[in-house]
Amino acid sequence: MNSLERIKAAISFAPADRTPAVPQLFGHAAALAGVALKDYLRDGGLLARCQIEARERYGHDIVFAFMDLCVETEAAGSILQYRENQYPDVASYVLAPDSDVSALAVPDPATAGRMPELLRAAGILRSELGDTVLVAGCVAGPMTLATQLLGIEAALYLAADDPARFERILDFSAAVAIRYGIAQIEAGAHLPIVFDPAASPAVVPPQFFRELLLPRLQRVFSAFRQAGALANWLNIAGPTGTILPYYPEAGVDIANFDYYVEPQRARELLPDTCLDGNMKSLIFVEASPDEVAAAASRLVSEFAGRGGFLLSSGCEIPPEAKPENIAAMLAACRGA
């Protein structure tokens, strides 16, 4: 069974030779290769090479055509500040609270900002790995992009002060996600993961998610399915217990859950949905390989009778994580 077949089996709750491992390794692939993060994040060829090397080293079941959650806002006109070995942040937001979002054009992934480089990475990964390993693209979810267009504080105040204007920004953000995600599928990604950390109940209450974000996520996932995505994958970190029940309605096939949500609770909330999670990101930096292996083994055992599970961290594994800890996670997954 190859990695892609293993993941497909998990999505459909079919038997597999082992639990698939999909650690969220993004910038860590650059650190492992001794490449500066700021270069990795701007060069699709370099990103693809680092992802392939990381995968060869650890033997996990996925590679990520993912840069950071600032790609879309930069493509729309925000100015970023890059640093040597940190993810960029927005120095100047393209929208002000009183801006008219209709003046913004949905970025063309073929030409806007770093999007073409990301598409190049997806293409290289798919042509190198074919259908042996899952090639995941990544887009910012509507809420996250809205906060990246305005700044999170301005976005949240606008959501309260002028909901109609804020909803127009959410619609624009959903349109960006759809166009960019479909371009990733066309470039070779098996699916684009929707990362929407700002949709977390740590940021907005569940009612906000249900009324404002769910309809946009439905639109995004429906478009991805029509474009041929292998599955729809939603990644929201934090205490998502109150919003997980809405995921099937959104069209989600794979639901990420973070360490805040106990595995048993995630299983009860989403009995028919493939889950991925929920190791603490920080243990890959601070704990010993034995502790990581024990945490991974507990999760694998927990889901052994159910299937429908991808072993992962609940959030990104930090770039400075210890390689021996990631290796320990994989070893536990293989039952070594």
Partner: protein, 216 residues
């Protein structure tokens, strides 16, 4: 625990909890026009509202949107009552807060600051990407009761570990160090070399309340 609210303050507490900053400002002005001292508006209005919010905000129902709206309303009232800033003698105690060098995400810090101001504390905000030395200097200058550090990303952890030794080197070893934020709260006080790791802004404020009362 449900805080008792002075009936005169009911309306203020209500609009603060709704996050309606315009109505909160109008209500604070009305109370001032009735001759009620700023001190009372803070202790019986703002602090009562923050206590109610604290009771409501468990880890599962703590969300930035609601906290920020209440925080904005509280700030509007504080700015109205003390246009020159909260005087040191008015604040019950002073805390110095920062996001340390290497981390430019300051939302968590801003939330903690809002909660503490709402509770009547004086908070000196050193912003983001702040060197440890600047934090120590401010703690000394401001006679801080505690220093608070917030971190969203893990690379800032080595900076956090330096705070306590840097304070001790300056003879300020008695000043408590509290950490919070998405990255730091996954760790432990021992691993971070701090006195307390706060799960939320309210959890941190509760620790500081106890500290001020001599119970922590």
């Amino acid at each position: 625990m449900i805080a008792m609210t002075n009936p005169e303050m009911n309306k203020l507490v209500e609009v603060l909890l709704e996050g309606d900053h315009a109505a909160a400002l109008a209500e604070a002005r009305r109370l001032r026009a009735m001759g009620i001292e700023p001190e009372r508006i803070v202790t019986e209005g703002l602090e009562a509202a923050m206590q109610r919010l604290d009771d409501k905000c468990t880890v599962e129902s703590f969300n930035l949107l609601e906290i920020m709206l209440v925080g904005r309303a509280v700030s509007a009232v504080v700015n109205e009552l003390y246009p020159e800033g909260v005087p040191p003698e008015r604040g019950r105690d002073t805390f110095v807060i920062a996001t340390l060098e290497g981390d430019v995400h300051d939302l968590g810090k801003n939330i903690a600051k809002m909660v503490l101001i709402g509770k009547g504390y004086r908070v000196v905000d050193l912003g983001k990407d702040c060197p440890v030395e600047t934090l120590v200097n401010a703690a000394e200058r401001e006679h801080a009761h505690a220093v608070l550090v917030s971190g969203l990303i893990t690379p800032v952890i080595p900076q956090v570990r330096k705070v306590r030794p840097a304070l001790a080197e300056r003879g300020l070893g008695g000043i408590r160090v509290v950490a919070g934020g998405a990255a730091l709260k996954q760790s432990s006080a021992e691993a971070l070399n701090v006195d307390y790791v706060a799960e939320t802004a309210f959890d941190g404020a509760l620790y500081l309340d106890q500290l001020v009362r001599g119970a922590a």
